[in-house]
Symmetry: C2
Subunit: 119 residues, 2 copies
DNA sequence: CCAATATGCAACAAGGAGGTTGCATATGAA
DNA sequence: TTCATATGCAACCTCCTTGTTGCATATTGG
């Protein structure tokens, strides 16, 4: 069995695949998915508003929002004494595209395998 | 400011959005993304082969593969003394679709906002 | 001005995630 | 058979994540 090194999968137009780990990790939490969904439906929302839809404290929600922001998935604006949060669909789109690339690469590999077998 | 409860975002055809949390969490790790990429390029690979592309032990790779399997992202077959792993693109496609739904919902919300403002 | 509201910040605890080592077991090859 | 290879399993350690509580600060409204 040949332990050949696999090439680093360089067909993504944007960042390398590994760099999406923080993005997917940010989406990999029920509470944060709920927050994303809430902003999706409710548009721009304050921390207190977002907390109302959960069973955890406002401080915990703040930290979830910060994680989403670090991943580039949401954006915040201070307005008076409030801090309003909204979705940032660009990174979401990039993540979606990265999954596309994986699936495409996989299909391509399958076709190559088929061609090899038919040879 | 009205603390209205947001509705639970029920426009996904498959599982509810929250149920994708384990899937995204599985993708939210550099090592596992690397494994996915390796299988993507290399097709069906054994644990030892997959370990060769990382800096961690075989046992750690095994656990990462188990996490990916629990998320439905990979599938394994025993063959002799080897255990071969391969990508399972179906769940990947579902995850991609869920991101699509979020983006679409968001765009829809933006249009509604625009319509409200122009009223 | 004063009280209520909205948020920020920090310390702390519990649990899970990710990694290692050590050893047992199964299978292939010589 | 006998040795090397491929994998399974479990104990253990460390650090990060997620949540809490308590208190400080800033803004708004009456």
């Amino acid at each position: 069995m040949s332990l050949r090194r696999e090439p680093p999968l360089r067909r993504l137009k944007g960042p390398a695949l590994r760099e999406y780990a923080p993005t997917f990790a940010a989406l990999g939490d029920e509470t944060r998915l709920h927050l994303v969904a809430a902003m999706c439906v409710g548009g721009t929302m304050s921390i207190t508003q977002l907390t109302a839809g959960t069973a955890i404290t406002r401080q915990a929600v703040t930290r979830h929002l910060q994680i989403l922001a670090d991943a580039g998935l949401v954006r915040d604006v201070k307005l008076g004494r409030e801090r309003l949060w909204a979705l940032e669909p660009t990174r979401l789109e990039q993540a979606r595209h990265s999954l596309d690339m994986i699936a495409q690469q996989w299909d391509h590999a399958l076709m190559r395998l088929k061609a090899t077998l038919e040879q």
